[in-house]
Protein backbone atom coordinates (compact mmCIF):
# COMPACT_ATOMS: atom_id res chain seq x y z
CA UNK A 1 0.00 0.00 0.00
CA UNK A 2 3.02 2.27 -0.23
CA UNK A 3 2.56 3.70 -3.73
CA UNK A 4 0.05 6.55 -4.09
CA UNK A 5 -3.35 6.09 -5.73
CA UNK A 6 -2.81 8.93 -8.18
CA UNK A 7 0.56 10.38 -9.09
CA UNK A 8 1.28 12.97 -11.74
CA UNK A 9 4.75 14.27 -12.54
CA UNK A 10 5.31 17.38 -14.63
CA UNK A 11 2.07 17.13 -16.59
CA UNK A 12 1.60 19.70 -19.34
CA UNK A 13 -1.31 19.93 -21.73
CA UNK A 14 -1.25 22.13 -24.79
CA UNK A 15 -4.18 23.11 -26.96
CA UNK A 16 -2.16 24.28 -29.93
CA UNK A 17 0.36 26.67 -28.41
CA UNK A 18 -1.81 27.41 -25.43
CA UNK A 19 -0.80 25.56 -22.27
CA UNK A 20 -3.98 24.53 -20.46
CA UNK A 21 -1.96 22.75 -17.78
CA UNK A 22 1.53 23.75 -16.74
CA UNK A 23 3.80 21.39 -14.90
CA UNK A 24 1.21 19.80 -12.63
CA UNK A 25 2.75 17.35 -10.14
CA UNK A 26 1.07 15.81 -7.14
CA UNK A 27 0.58 12.50 -5.42
CA UNK A 28 -2.59 11.43 -3.68
CA UNK A 29 -2.65 8.55 -1.22
CA UNK A 30 -5.26 5.84 -1.21
CA UNK A 31 -8.49 6.60 0.55
CA UNK A 32 -7.99 10.36 0.39
CA UNK A 33 -10.56 12.75 -1.02
CA UNK A 34 -9.18 15.63 -3.06
CA UNK A 35 -11.24 18.74 -3.76
CA UNK A 36 -9.97 20.32 -6.96
CA UNK A 37 -10.73 24.04 -6.91
CA UNK A 38 -10.22 26.75 -9.47
CA UNK A 39 -11.99 29.33 -11.55
CA UNK A 40 -13.72 28.46 -14.83
CA UNK A 41 -11.15 27.65 -17.48
CA UNK A 42 -8.34 27.19 -14.98
CA UNK A 43 -7.79 23.61 -16.12
CA UNK A 44 -9.77 21.50 -13.63
CA UNK A 45 -11.69 19.63 -16.32
CA UNK A 46 -8.56 19.18 -18.43
CA UNK A 47 -6.72 17.61 -15.49
CA UNK A 48 -9.63 15.31 -14.64
CA UNK A 49 -9.95 14.23 -18.28
CA UNK A 50 -6.27 13.34 -18.35
CA UNK A 51 -6.63 11.34 -15.14
CA UNK A 52 -9.60 9.50 -16.62
CA UNK A 53 -7.68 8.69 -19.79
CA UNK A 54 -10.04 10.73 -21.98
CA UNK A 55 -7.25 13.00 -23.04
CA UNK A 56 -3.52 12.49 -23.31
CA UNK A 57 -0.98 14.68 -21.52
CA UNK A 58 1.31 16.57 -23.91
CA UNK A 59 4.24 16.09 -21.55
CA UNK A 60 4.71 14.39 -18.22
CA UNK A 61 3.73 11.19 -16.56
CA UNK A 62 0.43 10.05 -15.02
CA UNK A 63 0.13 6.92 -12.89
CA UNK A 64 -3.11 5.57 -11.43
CA UNK A 65 -2.56 2.81 -8.88
CA UNK A 66 0.92 2.54 -10.36
CA UNK A 67 -0.52 1.66 -13.76
CA UNK A 68 -0.83 3.42 -17.12
CA UNK A 69 -4.08 5.39 -17.51
CA UNK A 70 -4.95 3.89 -20.87
CA UNK A 71 -4.39 0.33 -19.66
CA UNK A 72 -7.72 -1.47 -19.63
CA UNK A 73 -7.15 -2.84 -16.11
CA UNK A 74 -6.56 0.68 -14.77
CA UNK A 75 -9.66 2.06 -16.39
CA UNK A 76 -11.76 -0.71 -14.87
CA UNK A 77 -10.94 0.81 -11.47
CA UNK A 78 -12.04 4.34 -12.35
CA UNK A 79 -15.54 5.75 -11.99
CA UNK A 80 -16.17 8.83 -14.09
CA UNK A 81 -18.93 11.41 -13.90
CA UNK A 82 -18.54 14.46 -16.12
CA UNK A 83 -20.61 17.63 -16.63
CA UNK A 84 -23.19 15.69 -18.61
CA UNK A 85 -24.93 12.60 -17.33
CA UNK A 86 -23.52 10.15 -19.89
CA UNK A 87 -26.74 8.17 -20.41
CA UNK A 88 -28.75 7.26 -23.49
CA UNK A 89 -32.10 8.99 -23.55
CA UNK A 90 -33.81 6.35 -25.66
CA UNK A 91 -32.80 3.42 -23.43
CA UNK A 92 -34.34 2.58 -20.08
CA UNK A 93 -32.47 2.89 -16.79
CA UNK A 94 -31.89 -0.84 -16.65
CA UNK A 95 -30.69 -1.00 -20.26
CA UNK A 96 -28.34 1.90 -19.65
CA UNK A 97 -26.79 0.23 -16.65
CA UNK A 98 -26.64 -3.08 -18.50
CA UNK A 99 -24.92 -1.48 -21.48
CA UNK A 100 -22.23 0.13 -19.33
CA UNK A 101 -22.13 -2.76 -16.88
CA UNK A 102 -21.27 -5.16 -19.70
CA UNK A 103 -18.04 -3.24 -20.24
CA UNK A 104 -17.09 -3.75 -16.58
CA UNK A 105 -18.46 -7.30 -16.16
CA UNK A 106 -21.09 -6.19 -13.67
CA UNK A 107 -23.70 -8.79 -12.74
CA UNK A 108 -27.46 -8.37 -13.19
CA UNK A 109 -27.96 -8.56 -9.42
CA UNK A 110 -25.62 -5.61 -8.84
CA UNK A 111 -27.54 -3.56 -11.38
CA UNK A 112 -30.79 -4.35 -9.58
CA UNK A 113 -29.22 -3.38 -6.27
CA UNK A 114 -28.09 -0.01 -7.59
CA UNK A 115 -31.48 0.72 -9.09
CA UNK A 116 -32.94 0.15 -5.61
CA UNK A 117 -30.27 2.24 -3.94
CA UNK A 118 -30.89 5.31 -6.12
CA UNK A 119 -34.61 4.74 -5.78
CA UNK A 120 -35.35 4.14 -9.47
CA UNK A 121 -36.40 0.48 -9.36
CA UNK A 122 -40.07 1.31 -9.94
CA UNK A 123 -39.32 3.12 -13.22
CA UNK A 124 -36.33 1.03 -14.29
CA UNK A 125 -37.92 -0.05 -17.56
CA UNK A 126 -39.14 3.24 -18.94
CA UNK A 127 -36.80 5.26 -21.14
CA UNK A 128 -34.52 7.85 -19.54
CA UNK A 129 -36.06 10.47 -21.83
CA UNK A 130 -39.18 10.44 -19.62
CA UNK A 131 -37.28 10.98 -16.37
CA UNK A 132 -37.18 14.19 -14.39
CA UNK A 133 -33.85 15.97 -14.00
CA UNK A 134 -33.32 14.60 -10.52
CA UNK A 135 -33.99 11.03 -11.61
CA UNK A 136 -31.55 11.30 -14.50
CA UNK A 137 -28.89 12.60 -12.17
CA UNK A 138 -29.43 9.83 -9.66
CA UNK A 139 -29.10 7.31 -12.45
CA UNK A 140 -25.87 8.98 -13.58
CA UNK A 141 -24.50 8.66 -10.06
CA UNK A 142 -25.47 4.98 -9.99
CA UNK A 143 -23.70 4.50 -13.32
CA UNK A 144 -20.47 5.97 -11.96
CA UNK A 145 -20.57 3.77 -8.83
CA UNK A 146 -21.87 0.65 -10.58
CA UNK A 147 -18.65 -1.34 -10.93
CA UNK A 148 -17.31 -0.54 -7.47
CA UNK A 149 -14.43 1.69 -8.63
CA UNK A 150 -11.33 2.31 -6.52
CA UNK A 151 -10.93 5.84 -7.83
CA UNK A 152 -13.80 8.24 -8.43
CA UNK A 153 -13.27 11.18 -10.77
CA UNK A 154 -16.17 13.62 -10.57
CA UNK A 155 -16.21 16.82 -12.58
CA UNK A 156 -18.43 19.43 -10.92
CA UNK A 157 -20.74 16.83 -9.42
CA UNK A 158 -22.72 19.25 -7.29
CA UNK A 159 -23.49 21.99 -9.81
CA UNK A 160 -26.14 20.21 -11.81
CA UNK A 161 -27.70 18.21 -8.99
CA UNK A 162 -30.85 18.96 -7.02
CA UNK A 163 -30.92 18.76 -3.21
CA UNK A 164 -32.07 15.17 -3.05
CA UNK A 165 -29.36 14.05 -5.43
CA UNK A 166 -26.72 16.01 -3.54
CA UNK A 167 -27.73 14.31 -0.30
CA UNK A 168 -27.60 10.91 -2.02
CA UNK A 169 -24.24 11.63 -3.62
CA UNK A 170 -22.78 12.83 -0.36
CA UNK A 171 -23.90 9.76 1.51
CA UNK A 172 -22.50 7.53 -1.27
CA UNK A 173 -19.21 9.40 -1.28
CA UNK A 174 -18.90 9.20 2.50
CA UNK A 175 -19.62 5.48 2.31
CA UNK A 176 -17.04 5.05 -0.43
CA UNK A 177 -14.41 6.89 1.58
CA UNK A 178 -15.06 4.63 4.52
CA UNK A 179 -14.31 1.69 2.19
CA UNK A 180 -10.98 3.16 1.20
CA UNK A 181 -12.00 4.53 -2.22
CA UNK A 182 -9.93 7.45 -3.47
CA UNK A 183 -11.97 10.42 -4.67
CA UNK A 184 -11.11 13.47 -6.74
CA UNK A 185 -13.80 16.03 -7.37
CA UNK A 186 -13.61 19.38 -9.06
CA UNK A 187 -16.03 22.01 -7.91
CA UNK A 188 -16.86 25.65 -7.32
CA UNK A 189 -19.27 24.77 -4.58
CA UNK A 190 -16.72 24.82 -1.85
CA UNK A 191 -18.95 24.07 1.10
CA UNK A 192 -20.18 20.63 0.01
CA UNK A 193 -16.73 19.61 -1.17
CA UNK A 194 -14.99 20.76 1.97
CA UNK A 195 -17.05 18.53 4.20
CA UNK A 196 -15.81 15.50 2.30
CA UNK A 197 -12.32 16.55 1.36
CA UNK A 198 -9.17 15.55 3.15
CA UNK A 199 -6.92 17.32 0.64
CA UNK A 200 -7.41 20.51 -1.27
CA UNK A 201 -5.80 21.58 -4.54
CA UNK A 202 -6.15 24.92 -6.27
CA UNK A 203 -5.51 25.26 -9.98
CA UNK A 204 -4.80 28.74 -11.23
CA UNK A 205 -4.33 29.33 -14.97
CA UNK A 206 -3.16 25.78 -15.48
CA UNK A 207 -0.72 25.78 -12.60
CA UNK A 208 -1.11 23.91 -9.34
CA UNK A 209 -1.15 26.88 -6.99
CA UNK A 210 -1.76 24.92 -3.83
CA UNK A 211 -1.87 21.32 -2.75
CA UNK A 212 -2.26 20.39 0.88
CA UNK A 213 -4.44 19.05 3.64
CA UNK A 214 -7.81 20.62 4.31
CA UNK A 215 -7.59 22.95 7.27
CA UNK A 216 -10.22 24.33 9.62
CA UNK A 217 -10.10 27.81 8.03
CA UNK A 218 -11.27 26.36 4.75
CA UNK A 219 -14.43 24.89 6.21
CA UNK A 220 -16.20 28.06 7.22
CA UNK A 221 -14.89 30.56 4.69
CA UNK A 222 -15.40 29.78 0.99
CA UNK A 223 -13.16 32.60 -0.23
CA UNK A 224 -10.25 31.71 2.01
CA UNK A 225 -8.42 29.44 -0.44
CA UNK A 226 -8.68 31.81 -3.37
CA UNK A 227 -7.48 34.74 -1.26
CA UNK A 228 -4.56 32.89 0.26
CA UNK A 229 -3.19 30.87 -2.63
CA UNK A 230 -4.68 32.31 -5.82
CA UNK A 231 -3.31 35.22 -7.81
CA UNK A 232 -4.85 38.63 -7.14
CA UNK A 233 -6.72 38.74 -10.45
Amino acid sequence: MSEPAVATAGVWKYFGDYPALRDVSFALDRGECLALLGRNGAGKTTLLRILAGLSGASKGDVKIYDGDVRASATRARIGWLGHAIGLYDELSARENLQAFGALYDVSKATIGEWLERVNLAHVADSPVREYSRGMRQRLAVARAFLHGPDLLLFDEPFTSLDDKAIALLQSLLTGARANGVTIILSTHQIREAMELASRVALIDRGKLAHFGPRTEEMLGDPGYIYRTFGTAA
Binding site: F15, D17, S58
Partner: protein, 228 residues
Protein backbone atom coordinates in the same frame (compact mmCIF):
# COMPACT_ATOMS: atom_id res chain seq x y z
CA UNK B 1 19.07 30.01 -42.43
CA UNK B 2 15.92 28.71 -44.00
CA UNK B 3 15.70 31.53 -46.51
CA UNK B 4 19.28 30.69 -47.52
CA UNK B 5 18.21 27.13 -48.23
CA UNK B 6 15.31 28.39 -50.32
CA UNK B 7 17.69 30.71 -52.17
CA UNK B 8 20.15 27.90 -52.83
CA UNK B 9 17.38 25.58 -54.03
CA UNK B 10 16.04 28.37 -56.21
CA UNK B 11 19.47 29.00 -57.73
CA UNK B 12 19.71 25.32 -58.64
CA UNK B 13 16.06 24.65 -59.49
CA UNK B 14 14.98 27.57 -61.63
CA UNK B 15 17.93 27.51 -64.09
CA UNK B 16 17.54 23.76 -64.29
CA UNK B 17 13.86 24.10 -65.13
CA UNK B 18 14.60 26.65 -67.85
CA UNK B 19 17.46 24.60 -69.27
CA UNK B 20 15.25 21.53 -69.32
CA UNK B 21 12.52 23.41 -71.12
CA UNK B 22 15.03 24.50 -73.75
CA UNK B 23 16.39 21.00 -74.21
CA UNK B 24 12.91 19.46 -74.30
CA UNK B 25 11.71 21.88 -76.95
CA UNK B 26 14.75 22.17 -79.19
CA UNK B 27 17.30 19.43 -78.57
CA UNK B 28 15.29 16.28 -78.10
CA UNK B 29 13.80 14.69 -81.24
CA UNK B 30 10.09 14.00 -81.74
CA UNK B 31 8.86 10.63 -80.70
CA UNK B 32 8.21 8.46 -83.75
CA UNK B 33 4.60 7.44 -83.22
CA UNK B 34 3.29 10.33 -81.16
CA UNK B 35 4.96 13.39 -82.65
CA UNK B 36 5.78 16.54 -80.72
CA UNK B 37 2.95 16.13 -78.21
CA UNK B 38 4.85 13.42 -76.37
CA UNK B 39 6.94 16.22 -74.77
CA UNK B 40 4.08 16.76 -72.31
CA UNK B 41 5.32 13.54 -70.86
CA UNK B 42 8.42 15.31 -69.52
CA UNK B 43 6.14 17.21 -67.16
CA UNK B 44 3.38 14.66 -66.76
CA UNK B 45 5.55 11.93 -65.26
CA UNK B 46 7.94 14.07 -63.16
CA UNK B 47 4.92 15.89 -61.72
CA UNK B 48 3.47 12.54 -60.75
CA UNK B 49 6.74 11.62 -59.06
CA UNK B 50 6.88 14.94 -57.25
CA UNK B 51 3.28 14.55 -56.07
CA UNK B 52 3.87 10.99 -54.91
CA UNK B 53 6.99 12.15 -53.08
CA UNK B 54 4.92 14.85 -51.36
CA UNK B 55 2.14 12.44 -50.40
CA UNK B 56 4.66 9.95 -49.08
CA UNK B 57 6.42 12.58 -46.99
CA UNK B 58 3.02 13.67 -45.70
CA UNK B 59 2.19 10.11 -44.69
CA UNK B 60 5.54 9.63 -42.93
CA UNK B 61 5.20 12.95 -41.11
CA UNK B 62 1.64 12.08 -40.09
CA UNK B 63 2.85 8.87 -38.49
CA UNK B 64 5.68 10.78 -36.82
CA UNK B 65 3.15 13.30 -35.52
CA UNK B 66 1.00 10.58 -33.99
CA UNK B 67 4.07 9.06 -32.35
CA UNK B 68 5.84 12.20 -31.18
CA UNK B 69 2.97 14.74 -30.95
CA UNK B 70 5.23 17.45 -32.30
CA UNK B 71 3.19 20.08 -34.16
CA UNK B 72 6.00 20.62 -36.64
CA UNK B 73 5.45 17.20 -38.22
CA UNK B 74 1.80 18.05 -38.72
CA UNK B 75 2.77 21.32 -40.38
CA UNK B 76 5.14 19.49 -42.74
CA UNK B 77 2.40 16.98 -43.59
CA UNK B 78 -0.02 19.80 -44.36
CA UNK B 79 2.51 21.73 -46.50
CA UNK B 80 3.46 18.60 -48.42
CA UNK B 81 -0.17 17.69 -49.08
CA UNK B 82 -0.99 21.12 -50.43
CA UNK B 83 2.07 21.20 -52.71
CA UNK B 84 1.38 17.59 -53.69
CA UNK B 85 -2.10 18.62 -54.82
CA UNK B 86 -0.62 21.32 -57.07
CA UNK B 87 1.74 18.83 -58.71
CA UNK B 88 -0.98 16.21 -58.97
CA UNK B 89 -3.08 18.82 -60.76
CA UNK B 90 -0.22 19.33 -63.25
CA UNK B 91 -0.07 15.57 -63.69
CA UNK B 92 -3.80 15.22 -64.29
CA UNK B 93 -4.31 18.17 -66.61
CA UNK B 94 -1.22 17.65 -68.75
CA UNK B 95 -2.38 14.06 -69.08
CA UNK B 96 -5.73 15.27 -70.35
CA UNK B 97 -4.08 17.31 -73.13
CA UNK B 98 -1.99 14.36 -74.14
CA UNK B 99 -5.02 12.09 -74.07
CA UNK B 100 -6.99 14.45 -76.30
CA UNK B 101 -4.39 13.91 -79.04
CA UNK B 102 -3.40 10.30 -78.48
CA UNK B 103 -6.76 8.83 -77.54
CA UNK B 104 -9.02 11.49 -79.01
CA UNK B 105 -10.79 12.07 -75.69
CA UNK B 106 -10.07 14.34 -72.75
CA UNK B 107 -10.70 11.78 -70.09
CA UNK B 108 -10.74 7.99 -70.17
CA UNK B 109 -12.22 6.14 -67.22
CA UNK B 110 -9.18 4.03 -67.07
CA UNK B 111 -7.96 2.66 -63.71
CA UNK B 112 -4.79 4.75 -63.57
CA UNK B 113 -6.61 7.98 -64.33
CA UNK B 114 -9.48 7.15 -62.06
CA UNK B 115 -7.17 6.46 -59.15
CA UNK B 116 -5.07 9.55 -59.71
CA UNK B 117 -8.28 11.57 -59.58
CA UNK B 118 -9.44 9.77 -56.44
CA UNK B 119 -6.13 10.57 -54.76
CA UNK B 120 -6.65 14.20 -55.60
CA UNK B 121 -10.16 14.19 -54.15
CA UNK B 122 -9.06 12.33 -51.02
CA UNK B 123 -6.25 14.78 -50.31
CA UNK B 124 -8.50 17.69 -51.09
CA UNK B 125 -10.79 16.26 -48.43
CA UNK B 126 -7.80 16.28 -46.09
CA UNK B 127 -7.40 20.03 -46.55
CA UNK B 128 -11.16 20.53 -46.10
CA UNK B 129 -11.09 18.54 -42.86
CA UNK B 130 -8.27 20.75 -41.58
CA UNK B 131 -10.30 23.85 -42.34
CA UNK B 132 -13.27 22.50 -40.41
CA UNK B 133 -11.47 21.87 -37.10
CA UNK B 134 -10.55 24.82 -34.93
CA UNK B 135 -8.57 23.25 -32.11
CA UNK B 136 -4.99 22.83 -33.42
CA UNK B 137 -4.23 19.63 -31.50
CA UNK B 138 -7.47 17.96 -32.55
CA UNK B 139 -6.95 19.15 -36.11
CA UNK B 140 -3.42 17.76 -36.26
CA UNK B 141 -4.48 14.42 -34.83
CA UNK B 142 -7.51 13.84 -37.04
CA UNK B 143 -5.72 15.08 -40.14
CA UNK B 144 -2.81 12.71 -39.47
CA UNK B 145 -5.14 9.75 -39.22
CA UNK B 146 -6.85 10.75 -42.46
CA UNK B 147 -3.50 11.15 -44.20
CA UNK B 148 -2.55 7.59 -43.33
CA UNK B 149 -5.86 6.30 -44.68
CA UNK B 150 -5.46 8.41 -47.80
CA UNK B 151 -2.10 6.90 -48.57
CA UNK B 152 -3.75 3.59 -49.37
CA UNK B 153 -5.22 5.21 -52.48
CA UNK B 154 -1.75 6.48 -53.48
CA UNK B 155 -0.45 2.94 -53.22
CA UNK B 156 -3.32 1.71 -55.40
CA UNK B 157 -2.58 4.38 -58.04
CA UNK B 158 1.02 3.29 -58.10
CA UNK B 159 0.06 -0.33 -58.64
CA UNK B 160 -2.95 0.31 -60.91
CA UNK B 161 -1.01 -0.08 -64.16
CA UNK B 162 0.18 -3.49 -63.08
CA UNK B 163 -3.11 -4.78 -61.74
CA UNK B 164 -5.37 -3.82 -64.61
CA UNK B 165 -4.91 -3.82 -68.34
CA UNK B 166 -5.32 -0.18 -69.19
CA UNK B 167 -4.99 2.24 -72.06
CA UNK B 168 -2.55 4.20 -69.99
CA UNK B 169 1.09 3.52 -70.99
CA UNK B 170 2.82 1.01 -68.76
CA UNK B 171 5.97 1.74 -66.81
CA UNK B 172 8.78 3.00 -69.01
CA UNK B 173 11.68 3.76 -66.70
CA UNK B 174 14.41 1.14 -66.83
CA UNK B 175 14.77 1.11 -63.04
CA UNK B 176 11.22 -0.19 -62.77
CA UNK B 177 11.00 -2.45 -65.81
CA UNK B 178 14.59 -3.69 -65.83
CA UNK B 179 14.96 -3.12 -69.58
CA UNK B 180 15.52 -0.16 -71.85
CA UNK B 181 12.15 0.66 -73.39
CA UNK B 182 12.80 4.24 -74.39
CA UNK B 183 15.71 6.21 -75.77
CA UNK B 184 18.38 6.76 -73.06
CA UNK B 185 18.46 10.51 -73.78
CA UNK B 186 14.71 10.71 -73.18
CA UNK B 187 14.92 8.66 -70.02
CA UNK B 188 17.72 10.85 -68.74
CA UNK B 189 15.60 13.95 -69.34
CA UNK B 190 12.78 12.40 -67.32
CA UNK B 191 15.14 12.03 -64.38
CA UNK B 192 16.61 15.49 -64.73
CA UNK B 193 13.21 17.13 -64.94
CA UNK B 194 11.98 15.09 -61.99
CA UNK B 195 14.91 16.54 -60.07
CA UNK B 196 13.99 20.05 -61.21
CA UNK B 197 10.32 19.69 -60.25
CA UNK B 198 11.25 18.06 -56.93
CA UNK B 199 13.49 21.05 -56.17
CA UNK B 200 10.60 23.35 -56.96
CA UNK B 201 8.35 21.27 -54.71
CA UNK B 202 10.89 21.57 -51.90
CA UNK B 203 10.94 25.35 -52.29
CA UNK B 204 7.13 25.44 -52.15
CA UNK B 205 6.99 23.18 -49.11
CA UNK B 206 9.54 25.22 -47.16
CA UNK B 207 7.74 28.45 -48.01
CA UNK B 208 4.37 27.02 -47.03
CA UNK B 209 5.87 25.68 -43.82
CA UNK B 210 7.21 29.11 -42.88
CA UNK B 211 3.78 30.59 -43.55
CA UNK B 212 2.24 28.07 -41.21
CA UNK B 213 4.67 29.14 -38.50
CA UNK B 214 3.79 32.79 -39.08
CA UNK B 215 0.12 31.80 -38.86
CA UNK B 216 0.76 30.21 -35.49
CA UNK B 217 2.56 33.31 -34.33
CA UNK B 218 -0.41 35.38 -35.45
CA UNK B 219 -2.85 33.14 -33.59
CA UNK B 220 -0.75 33.37 -30.43
CA UNK B 221 -0.51 37.15 -30.74
CA UNK B 222 -4.25 37.41 -31.30
CA UNK B 223 -4.96 35.42 -28.16
CA UNK B 224 -2.49 37.58 -26.28
CA UNK B 225 -4.11 40.75 -27.60
CA UNK B 226 -7.55 39.53 -26.51
CA UNK B 227 -6.22 38.70 -23.07
CA UNK B 228 -4.82 42.22 -22.63
Amino acid sequence: MRSKIVLALGLVGVPLLLRNLYVILFNLPDEMEQGPVYRIFYYHLPAFFAATLCYTTAMVCSILYLVKKNARYDAIAMACTEVGLAFAAVNLITGMFWGRISWGIWWAWDPRLTWALICWLVYFGYLMLRKAIDDPTERAKNASVLSIFAYVSVAITWKAIEWWRTQHPGPVLSIRTGEQRIDPAMEQMLYVNTLALATLAAIFVITRLRQEEVQREIDALRRYAHAL
